[in-house]
Chain length 252, copies 2
């Protein structure tokens, strides 16, 4: 990967009162970041928003203007609190329409009229939207412009995201290297900061940890798009750890 | 709790590249939401931001203006990538100063000058900030205005948050009730939507689930500040489930 390749960014918008109330632990942000990261798309912002139309519309319009891609999760089911499709249509200023392919899929399974009407809520997409396949058997997600709208249930979200592989345009892929050591952060802070100054194009982070046994240490994480530069910097990290009296990646 | 009690809101700002890259799974949002929820403080917005000064400053200033409280996590360690204190000082337009109590605590444990200098980074707080106790033994967090700045490590964040109990001013406490049933969402969507219209002050959500055994169902969640109204609405939810052919909270 050439270092002058364009940096492609994304925002993740997690829609749902259940995440903000603490009732549900979100795991979709991490899954999306890891997956699209391998496609050369960098998640640089995430928002968690309630099931409130005005908020969702405003946030989607804000982030779609400043990122290459937006991925939303949640709010595309058949109940009254599923308002994501309505909000995305409003955000793009287009009508919400029943998509014939989704409607046909939903109608295949018979149901009384009232239940069918609720299920057909899931066939409503903003006019002009394309579909995101859902290999779990439920209705698909959709995309319009640079906004990709997926389910909140992790397994369904993952199936939808997987179907986008090869369909989005990524840029330079961020490669990650890490070195752990049983030293406190402060012992390596100074030489690590100096190294960061020498490699402005590499993103260097320091994260303290405590292993199950109770032993404390630090993981130094280096991220960048130029793998050969990264390998040189990682070798220098190992040197500064040794100079500080530590053993890089001590397995004990 | 009176229903006309003020609604007190909070934003959570999660600071750190490691969350956006997917390297680390955030759990602090959920912990904060659950804990402050019991104090009558409602998290209505969360942001995940990278270790970029201009972004952190802008986001903190945006959310502190529209919420009663802001809780931040991450970026208060001793290394170069820990820039939260600098950013909060910038956001408030005050200098960053060494807090004598924190500095004295840090100096108790001897270290060579270079290592001590790195550790003393953790004594820097915005001028005028108060401290947030840290019972895990490390340096404290701090608060300035309505912004509470805590560590990113979950156990340390939880210790800091616990020390705030009784010190913040909450409003009406949101009470949650839920009823689960082995029915698809669509089967109860219509009567549930009608019930929501009858109870505008109660927040009603529908969440599909799949139990380990593979059995599908729906959890209906009701949240509100008026417990007696909530209990009536929950009884009505149970009735609509029975009318739809389901068994409320079937343990099988």
């Amino acid at each position: 990967v050439a270092t002058n390749e364009r940096i492609v960014t994304a925002a993740v918008v997690i829609i749902g009162n259940e995440i903000l109330s603490g009732r549900t632990q979100d795991t979709n942000l991490r899954e999306i970041a890891l997956t699209v990261g391998t496609w050369g798309i960098r998640v640089t912002e995430a928002r968690v928003v309630p099931d409130v139309e005005s908020v969702i519309v405003a946030v989607v319009n804000e982030v779609r203007a400043r990122h290459d891609y937006v991925f939303t999760t949640g709010g595309i089911g058949p109940t009254h609190d599923d308002i994501t499709a309505d909000c995305i249509a409003l955000a793009f200023g287009v009508p919400l329409v029943e998509h014939p392919l989704i409607a046909a899929q939903i109608r295949k399974r018979e149901a009384p009229p009232e239940i069918m009407a609720s299920r057909l809520r899931m066939a409503r997409v903003p006019a002009g939207a394309g579909l995101i396949e859902n290999s779990t058997g439920g209705p698909p997600g959709f995309f319009i412009g640079n906004v990709y709208v997926m389910a909140g249930i992790p397994l369904v979200m993952q199936a939808m995201l997987a179907s986008l592989a090869g369909k989005l345009t990524g840029g330079a892929v961020m490669v990650t290297r890490s070195v752990s050591v049983y030293l406190p952060e402060s012992v390596i802070a100074k030489p690590f900061a100096t190294l960061q100054q020498q490699w402005p194009e590499i993103d260097m982070g320091s994260y303290p940890f405590q292993r199950d046994g109770g032993r404390y240490g630090t993981t130094l994480v280096l991220r960048g798009t130029n793998v050969s530069a990264l390998e040189i910097a990682v070798a220098q990290v190992r040197e500064l750890i040794v100079a500080a009296g530590g053993v890089p990646d001590d397995p004990s």
